[in-house]
Amino acid sequence: MIFVIDDDELMAECIANATQKDTMSFLNAIDAMSKISEGVIPNLIFLDILLDGPDGFTFLNELVSYDDTAKIPVVIVTSLKLHNRSLSAYGVIGVLDKDTMRPEDVRRYARQYAE
């Protein structure tokens, strides 16, 4: 299972379709966290940073606070330029730039982490 968290519904849909895997889309971090609390642990999360309500960094902090979620791989999908920031401590395995990313970039992560 892959989670896609993006406050833009169409963008979330594009990312979900690109994975070619089972996905659940969330428009905010709270709903995604609630789902995880219900015991649905995703294999991979595509996470936008600028979200309505708690932002992506708050969500990442929340994830690393618990043993069972700290190791979920996360791919940041954003228009912010984050390339120089080290986010591996938050389980971030990659950053995709919304301005330049292609479906195959999304698919590569999905194949690697959500088989």
Binding site: D8, L10, C14, S79, D99, T100, R102
Partner: protein, 226 residues
């Protein structure tokens, strides 16, 4: 004044979101026919161009924060990267892009992102104002202790008043170019703002059959590995 500029920054961010979505939706188009492939490529190219312009507008706002690091930048690598990015757009608009390097690859003192934007805007301008099948030339050469990147188009000649303004080395505001219909002068204004930040100079040469726009950058004394 500050509020107005911040409004531009906000608008730029708001515009970027739908443009990025349009680009992603284009990738979802069925590619079973050549026609669809062409439509997809065009939508992607046009949306990427719009995203870049919106990003450039946001960068202009951030120039005063001084966040753009100046460092030795390989001119040839920048020109190659931008021309590669624009190759499909030129192709679909039936334009011919030629690049001439008249010296060994040099390093210049610049910010790579800003320099890419200047070259990009010059090339887009040249593509827009050249006719079908027309040639656009990008030439890199040395002028004394500077490195000059020139983009020559074969469109309408540049009006005298705009040429005089560019001769100062920068433009204070976007100025529409009357003899170049459809031009808001935004690309030139962006190039002007970025070159000023980098202590570079933009200029233009009028030809009977078009215009050359150039940017002159300080050549780095550091030895180039490229």
């Amino acid at each position: 004044m500050i509020e107005e500029v911040d409004g531009i920054l906000l608008a730029a961010h708001e515009l970027k979101v739908p443009l990025a979505v349009i680009r992603q939706l284009a990738f979802a188009l069925d590619e079973s026919s050549t026609h669809n492939q062409q439509i997809r490529t065009k939508i992607v190219s046009v949306s990427e161009r719009a995203i870049r312009q919106v990003n450039d507008l946001a960068k202009i706002r951030r120039l005063e924060d001084g966040l753009f690091t100046m460092e030795p930048v390989a001119v040839r690598e920048v020109c190659d990267a931008v021309s590669y990015e624009l190759r499909q757009l030129f192709q679909y608009n039936s334009r011919d892009l030629h690049i001439k390097y008249k010296n060994k690859s040099k390093l210049v003192i610049a910010n790579r992102d800003l320099l890419c934007s200047i070259v990009y805007n010059f090339l887009i301008n040249a593509m827009h104002y050249s006719g079908d099948g027309a040639k656009t030339e990008m030439i890199v050469n040395e002028v004394w202790d500077k490195t000059r990147i020139t983009v020559r188009d074969y469109g309408p000649a540049l009006p005298m008043d705009i040429w005089r303004e560019i001769k100062k080395g920068w433009m204070d505001k976007p100025t529409s170019i009357a003899m170049r219909p459809g031009s808001s002068g935004l690309g030139l204004y962006i190039a002007s703002s970025f070159s000023r930040y980098m202590n570079a100079k933009i200029g233009a040469v009028r030809h009977k059959d078009g215009t050359s726009f150039y940017v002159e950058l300080i050549t780095s004394k550091q030895a180039s590995l490229f």
